[in-house]
Amino acid sequence: MDAIVIDNVSKAYGSTKAVQTVSLSVKPGELFGLIGPDGAGKTTLFKILVTLLRPDEGRATVVGRDVVKDFRALRSLVGYMPGRFSLYPDLTVEENLSFFATVFGTSIQANYDLIREIYVQLEPFKDRRAGALSGGMKQKLALCCALIHKPEVLFLDEPTTGVDAVSRKEFWEMLQRLKERQLTMLVSTPYMDEANRCDRIALMQTGQILAIDTPSGVEHLFRKPLYAVKAAETFRLIQDLRKAPFTQTCYAFGEYLHLTTEEGTTPADIDRYLRERRHEHVTIKPIQAGIEDSFMALMQHG
């Protein structure tokens, strides 16, 4: 039985269709990512799954319980970390944690095993007010609070948004270790580079799912030839390539530009075109598309 089943769920706020006929399922013990920008409908979908909102249409179950009918029973089985910092800034680290433990009818000691690895980093600051913690520490505390009752499924809504790259990486490493304990996790993120850390991902855009697959499966959805191009003057390179007759799309990707071309274009054609325009230090190499390439292609072609 799947841990999360979403079956044709739709939800609108007034005339805004936040989620449109979304279906997906998450297996027990899976680390599943919802990848998409703001306004993709990730948060709405989360709120439906943690019983805070009712879907307009369709149905969803989490660990076999219906999110509408069995919402009471479900609430003690899920852990939820909302998008924004949702702890009490005027309570200390320890007070926050013990409050949430008691609310869920347990204690810090009872489930300490599950949070130990994360909590040891917080322990030196256990008497500090949560509001005075750094971004990365707040995030760890919020994760501890969401885990303290040993939930069967953990919902993490944009846990890494606005957090620096180092804290983000640490956070994903923590999730990897939780995965080893067979915890089912649904995580959303706007950062495409985090998708590779999930078992499977769903790409979302404006309330719809563009694709569901493993990260490498999503990468292979991109079938056109793709080149990474680099030259001394990046801005002029973009402008020239966009004007080129063989160019379909040209976007900046880190230090390279990612270029898709018309059928039959060879690297030699591109090279000749650029030399004619006096570009120096030109590098052109065929590459395998990444998740972000696939996302952009899917955005444009549905």
Binding site: G136, A165, E170, G254
Partner: protein, 244 residues
């Protein structure tokens, strides 16, 4: 003098806490300068001092030649600022927002009119020029906020995590605008959590615990730290020090 920013041992202390510790760097006119660092590394404090919003404890800094201690009013005239929480008024229309910000910087009626028309045409906002900003998609707001930050033709524009939360295509369209502005000679001073965006900068500085730990071109940094991505450089420099 063609340096947009020059700092020398710029320091800010809050009580015993040294938020920014003797940072020294300069930024050329028309350069895209990436200002990276972990949360709490002191970026925000540094930017506030450079914008003339916070008085340094010690050290010097000049913005477009103006002194950050004494010439804060002049500095405000030559800088633009845009943060992730765009400074646009959601309950004003596109045109009203442009006119408001233009008005703040003392543009006259004719200039305001010309500038509004120019921005609206450039951004292709003609059909929504008289619609409330609240009704625009995030990506459009973002580009409008950037144009508004440039409305008074500042010499330097500070962008504080400008691309958070938008889709990958919109993010790149935004960077196209940044390149264009830099090409016209505006200095871009940008912070971001997207490490691939660090690669788009001409030079990048990385702050750790109040100090600038590295400053070079992206390829120079990658070479000296022996990794193939800016993320790798960042992880090496900032790891272990962010857990405070």
């Amino acid at each position: 003098m063609d340096k947009a920013v020059i700092t020398n041992k710029l320091t800010k202390k809050f009580g015993d806490f040294v938020a920014t510790n003797e940072i020294t760097f300069d930024v050329a006119q028309g350069e895209i300068f990436g200002f990276l660092g972990a949360n709490g590394a002191g970026k925000t404090t540094a930017i506030r001092m450079l914008c003339g919003l916070l008085k340094p404890t010690s050290g010097d800094a000049r913005i477009a030649g103006f002194d950050v201690y004494r010439q804060t009013e002049q500095i405000k005239q030559v800088i633009g600022y845009m943060s992730q929480k765009f400074s646009l008024y959601e309950d004003l229309t596109v045109r009203e927002n442009i006119r408001f910000y233009g008005g703040i910087y003392g543009l006259n009626r004719a200039d305001l009119k010309a500038k509004s028309d120019q921005i609206i045409e450039q951004l292709n906002l003609g059909s929504v020029a008289d619609k409330l900003v609240a009704s625009l998609p995030l990506g459009w707001k973002q580009r409008l906020a950037f144009s508004v930050a440039l409305v008074h033709n500042p010499r330097i524009v500070f962008l504080d995590e400008p691309t958070g939360g938008v889709d990958p295509i919109t993010r790149r369209q935004f960077w196209d605008m940044i390149y264009e502005a830099a090409d016209r000679g505006t200095t871009i001073f940008v912070t971001t959590h997207y490490m691939d965006e660090a690669e788009y900068c001409n030079r990048v500085s990385i702050m750790v615990d109040g100090r600038i730990k590295a400053l070079d071109t992206p390829s120079g940094l990658k070479r000296s730290f022996g990794t193939d991505s800016m993320d790798g450089v960042f992880q090496i420099l900032a790891r272990g020090t962010s857990t405070k």
